[in-house]
Structures are given as structure tokens and as C-alpha cells.
């Protein structure tokens, strides 16, 4: 038998059901890997050793009496943006360094009810604002494939920990690419579902009309199992989509013959790394060999998503983050002179630079005299972007392209150039503005770093995306590659 951490989620479920190993053994195995390997990666902010072992023991006991849930005993990690009752939830910010939520997010409750064992909370860009995980109060995360490179962001810790086999699957959130871009940089599979598919209740808000939680795993099959347990209508989220019992697993192996996959030429522009372009085009040919039809498709609004996003997201953030005032929870400054001083200094000390920048851009875009020129304009463009996609989806079933312009960049390379960092999200952001589902799938390597490709689908067609991704992964092995971690080599 392979090492436990090399087994897929479904293989682990089979092994647990057959009694080849227990949830407690599996959890201990991962905890010992985290202890040994994570100091070099920094993918976890909090490791929940005691509660994880207690949860694993409970799952073993439940399984013994025939009450195993769909994810019984599977070790998972939550991005540190999902509220976990009794476990510090920081959102990567000094502001919430002392925040222990009195309740759990719907996603956390659902996964715990499904039997998943929470190993810990993963590192992230502060309040999910970033594309490199360098904006974390808890320090940058290293890319498991190269310690000099970023893992992407904002769900960088979740992507790195899955790639390094420090958990089986992980949750993430995606507001402008925060699941798909780190999945691409770390060589894993990450799906951002349709807006409203997964409950936002208990997720620390960044930009509420764009935020969506999703699943990160090594394969589409693993991600499908995780997403199935996370998704579904929740009356506590006012934007939750009414859809009973989403099924993302039964169609995984379906034939993809006749599916029309759109190739958008605009995506293959001068800014795209040639190795990434070659990998995506090669993947397109493989999908064609599996029976899909490739169709050229035009997206005329593709270039306008970034300007609109960097108004809409900061505007929503400026409102969402107004709750952090140092009064009811979170960081409070020492010796405030008066109430204004308490608010202003608590916020100045609690938030990092990127967060403060975005709050101020948002306040500006919503302020009298600028609202129409910036915020309203961005919301109009948002509609044109969505209509552009809907038009394309009259001709094709899916749109294929790169997830990112290039592979992971070096730590520190872009920290002084805010706009260059924003342009990293060029292929992912439009999807959030339109509320569509999309998946990033490993599609090759360049210079030892993974390449990701993105497949975008119609609203609520996550099952179709996972089906195509799974069929592609049955004929390729990019997703099976793992990084050679230095300490691991020394250990063996």
C-alpha cells in the first residue's frame, strides 16, 4: 500500500471502510507530517492537534457502529476565513489575531457533520486581499515546488498544504481568483462554484457579491467529493441558491463526446507565458481526442474585468470592514484618548497596508461626486461582462484558457507594484463578476513549476466542469505529481 498521504480521498475512504487503517492513524500521520514539514512552508496559521485527534476518535467510534458519513475520517484543512467555534479565526489579520468565534460557518458545520476531521486553519492573504499570500500577518507561505516562490493567493495556505500532502483536501474562498490562481501555482485542482452555490454564512466577508467558497484537492474527483458535502441551500445566507441536493460526483465519469469547448483567442495575448500557452493548447487537443469539439469563441469584454473589479471589490470591502472598530471584538489600541482615536488607531494598527489601501479606494469610489463615475460605471460594466459570457455560452458549453499569465513568481517580486500584482488575476476575475463556476486543473510544468488551466462553465454547471476535469485527469498524470520536499528527503 502507498503511504497514507499519497492516497486520494476516495482511496482513503475505501481504506477506512475496509479497516486497513483508522481515522486516528490517518490523522496522526498527517499531524506528524505537518509538524515535520510545515515549519518550512508556513501553510498553517493554527494546527488543531487535540481537537483533530478527538474528532478522529469519534469518527472511528461512529464507523464501528455503522454511522460513517460521506467524509468520515477524512483529514481536511479550512482556510482561516471560515469561522470555527472555539478555534481562533484570524483571516490572516492582526485585527483578528485574538478572535475566537462563538459559532461555526455553515461550511464548517456541514463538513463536520459529513465526518471530516479538521487538522487546522490555513494561512491566507489578509482578509483574502492578495494574489501571493505575502499580505498575511502570519508571514508569507512558501510554494512547495520552490521555496523562493509564492503559492499564490489568497487561499495560498490551502493550496500549499494540499500540494505538500499535509491534508487530503482543503476549503478555500474565491473573490477574484483566490482558489484557482493558488491551485494553478501549486499544481492542484481548485473549483470556484457558481455564486450562491455554497453558503457564505460564517465566512469573514471581503466583497459579498463576489465571495464564494469552494473546494481544493489534488484531483477533480477529490474536489467533487468535498464540494458535494459543502454546497447546498442555506436559509442563513440571503444570496444562497435554491437547489436541493447538489450532485457533483455521479457524472464524473460520463462521456464528454460532443461537448463544445470554446477557445477564446483574447486569452492568448502577448502577456501570456509561451509554456503556459503550449500546455493549454496541448490539453485542448487531449480533450478533443476524448470527443469534445473545439470552437473559437469571442469575449469582447475580457480586458475590462480588472478595472471594474478593483472598484467593486474595494467598495464592498470598505463597507464590510467597517465592523472592525475595536469595540466588540478584535484588536483595540492601547490608551485611546477618545472614541475617534479608538476607532482610527485600532483600525490603523489592526489592518495591513493592502487592506487599508483597498478600504480607502472603496471609500473614495462610493463617495459623493465619484460614485457614478466609478462604482456605478463598474456595476454597468459588470453586467456587460456577464452578458458577454452568456452570449459565448450560446455557442459553446465550456470555455478553456490559462488560469494565470505565468507560473508562480518569486517572493518579493511584485510587492512594490500593486497594479502588476492585480494584473495576475486577468483570467480569473471576470468569472467572479459574472458569478460563473470555474475550475483550475494542473496541465503541465515549466522550469519545475506547475501550470494550471481554467475551464469556465455555465451557471450551476459544476458537475459538467468536474466531469471534464476528471476525464482529462484519467488520461494525464500532471495532478499526480508531487513536490520533493527537502525535509522529506532527509527524513527517508
Amino acid at each position: 500500500m502507498s503511504e497514507l498521504h499519497e492516497l486520494s480521498l476516495t482511496e482513503q475512504l475505501t481504506g477506512l471502510a475496509a479497516g486497513e487503517f483508522s481515522a486516528t492513524e490517518l490523522t496522526r500521520h498527517y499531524l506528524s507530517r505537518i509538524e515535520r514539514l510545515d515549519p518550512a512552508l508556513n501553510s498553517y496559521i493554527t494546527v488543531c492537534q487535540d481537537t483533530a485527534l478527538a474528532a478522529a476518535a469519534e469518527q472511528d467510534a461512529l464507523r464501528a457502529v455503522g454511522h460513517a458519513g460521506p467524509l468520515a475520517g477524512i483529514p481536511i484543512a479550512h482556510k482561516d476565513i471560515f469561522c470555527t467555534q472555539g478555534i481562533r479565526t484570524s483571516a490572516g489579520s492582526r485585527m483578528l489575531d485574538n478572535f475566537i468565534p462563538p459559532y461555526s460557518a455553515t461550511v464548517v458545520e456541514k463538513l463536520t457533520a459529513a465526518g471530516a476531521v479538521v487538522l487546522g486553519k490555513t494561512n491566507m492573504d489578509e482578509f483574502a486581499m492578495g494574489s501571493s499570500n505575502e499580505n498575511s500577518f502570519y508571514g508569507a507561505v512558501k510554494n512547495p515546488w520552490s521555496p523562493d516562490c509564492v503559492p499564490g493567493g489568497s487561499s495560498g495556505g490551502s493550496a500549499a498544504t494540499v500540494a505538500a500532502r499535509l491534508c487530503t483536501v482543503a476549503t478555500g474562498t474565491d473573490t477574484g481568483g483566490s482558489i484557482r490562481q493558488p491551485a494553478a501555482f501549486c499544481g492542484i485542482t481548485g473549483i470556484k462554484p457558481t455564486y450562491g452555490r455554497v453558503s457564505r454564512w460564517g465566512i469573514i466577508a471581503y466583497a459579498s457579491s463576489l465571495d464564494q467558497a469552494g473546494a481544493m484537492g489534488r484531483s477533480a474527483e477529490d474536489a467533487a467529493h468535498l464540494l458535494e458535502a459543502m454546497a447546498g441551500f442555506d436559509e442563513r445566507d440571503s444570496t444562497s441558491v435554491m437547489d436541493a441536493g447538489p450532485d457533483f460526483t455521479s457524472l464524473l465519469t460520463a462521456d464528454i463526446s460532443g461537448k463544445k469547448i470554446g477557445i477564446c483567442r483574447t486569452y492568448f495575448n502577448a502577456g501570456l507565458n509561451p509554456a503556459v500557452e503550449a500546455a493549454v493548447m496541448s490539453a485542448a487537443k487531449q480533450l478533443e481526442a476524448l470527443g469534445a469539439t473545439l470552437v473559437d469563441v469571442e469575449l469582447t469584454m475580457a480586458d475590462h474585468a480588472i478595472p471594474a473589479y478593483y472598484i467593486i471589490a474595494p467598495a464592498e470591502a470598505s463597507a464590510n470592514l467597517s465592523r472592525y472598530d475595536g469595540v466588540r471584538f478584535g484588536h483595540r489600541c492601547d490608551n485611546p484618548a477618545d472614541i475617534d482615536d479608538l476607532y482610527k488607531r485600532s483600525r490603523a494598527e489592526g489592518f495591513g497596508k493592502e487592506v487599508k489601501s483597498r478600504i480607502m479606494v472603496g471609500s473614495f469610489a462610493l463617495s459623493a461626486g465619484y460614485y457614478d463615475a466609478y462604482y456605478r460605471k463598474a456595476q454597468q460594466i459588470r453586467r456587460l461582462i456577464k452578458e458577454d459570457f452568456l452570449q459565448a455560452f450560446q455557442q459553446v458549453d465550456y470555455i478553456l484558457g490559462p488560469t494565470t499569465p505565468g507560473p508562480a513568481f518569486a517572493i518579493g517580486e511584485m510587492v512594490d507594484d500593486q497594479v502588476a500584482m492585480y494584473l495576475q488575476d486577468i483570467y480569473t476575475i471576470a468569472v467572479n463578476l459574472a458569478g460563473l463556476p470555474a475550475i483550475s486543473i494542473p496541465a503541465g510544468f515549466t522550469g519545475g513549476l506547475p501550470i494550471g488551466m481554467q475551464l469556465i462553465g455555465r451557471h450551476l454547471d459544476e458537475a459538467g466542469l468536474l466531469n471534464i476535469a476528471h476525464r482529462y485527469q484519467q488520461v494525464t498524470d500532471w495532478h499526480r505529481q508531487g513536490p520533493a520536499l527537502e525535509q522529506e528527503a532527509n527524513h527517508d
Binding site: M360, V361, L436
Partner: protein, 95 residues
């Protein structure tokens, strides 16, 4: 548009943020770049386009007006910086 120190001071006030005078220039340059990026939107004709705030154009769902949550004041105040007799403490507001 070029953002000057005065604009930063105004939006910092709107945002309830204390900004160190030494950082004003850095924030001004950053916001200038972001607004230049956003300025590209002006090239697009959006006449007659309805602004979109929800990607599924969903409207607010209503629910029956019944109590669904119980009061958990003690649990919520347990994580507050400073409380007394069930109240949150802040510096004196009215002299």
C-alpha cells in the same frame, strides 16, 4: 486621476483610519495607479445599461418574521476587549 495628500486625508477620515503623515505619499501613489487602472472603464459605452449588483440578478429573499436565534450575549461579550455589566466599554463620548 492624480491623488494628492489631501484626498488621502479625506478618504482616511471617511474610512476611520489614522494614516501616518510619512505614509501619505505612498498611499497617494498607490491610489493614483489604481484609479488610472479604473479610469480605463470610461472608454466603454454603458449608456442605458442597468448596474448589476448580484450576478444572478437575485432579489432579497424574505422569510417569516419569527425569532430564529436565541440571545447569546455572554458568549459574544466573552471575546470583547472590555465590558462591564453586559455593556461594551469605550472611552467617554460625552463630557
Amino acid at each position: 486621476m492624480k491623488v494628492d495628500h489631501e484626498v488621502i486625508q479625506t478618504v482616511a477620515e471617511l474610512s476611520q483610519l489614522k494614516i501616518d503623515p510619512a505614509d501619505l505619499e505612498n498611499y497617494a501613489q498607490g491610489m493614483t495607479q489604481v484609479l488610472d487602472l479604473a479610469g480605463r472603464m470610461q472608454a466603454i459605452d454603458t449608456q442605458g445599461v442597468a448596474p448589476m449588483s448580484n450576478p444572478l440578478d437575485a432579489t432579497q429573499r424574505l422569510r417569516p418574521d419569527v425569532v430564529t436565534e436565541t440571545n447569546q450575549r455572554e458568549a459574544f461579550q466573552a471575546i470583547a476587549p472590555e465590558t462591564e455589566d453586559g455593556l461594551y466599554l469605550v472611552p467617554r463620548v460625552v463630557e
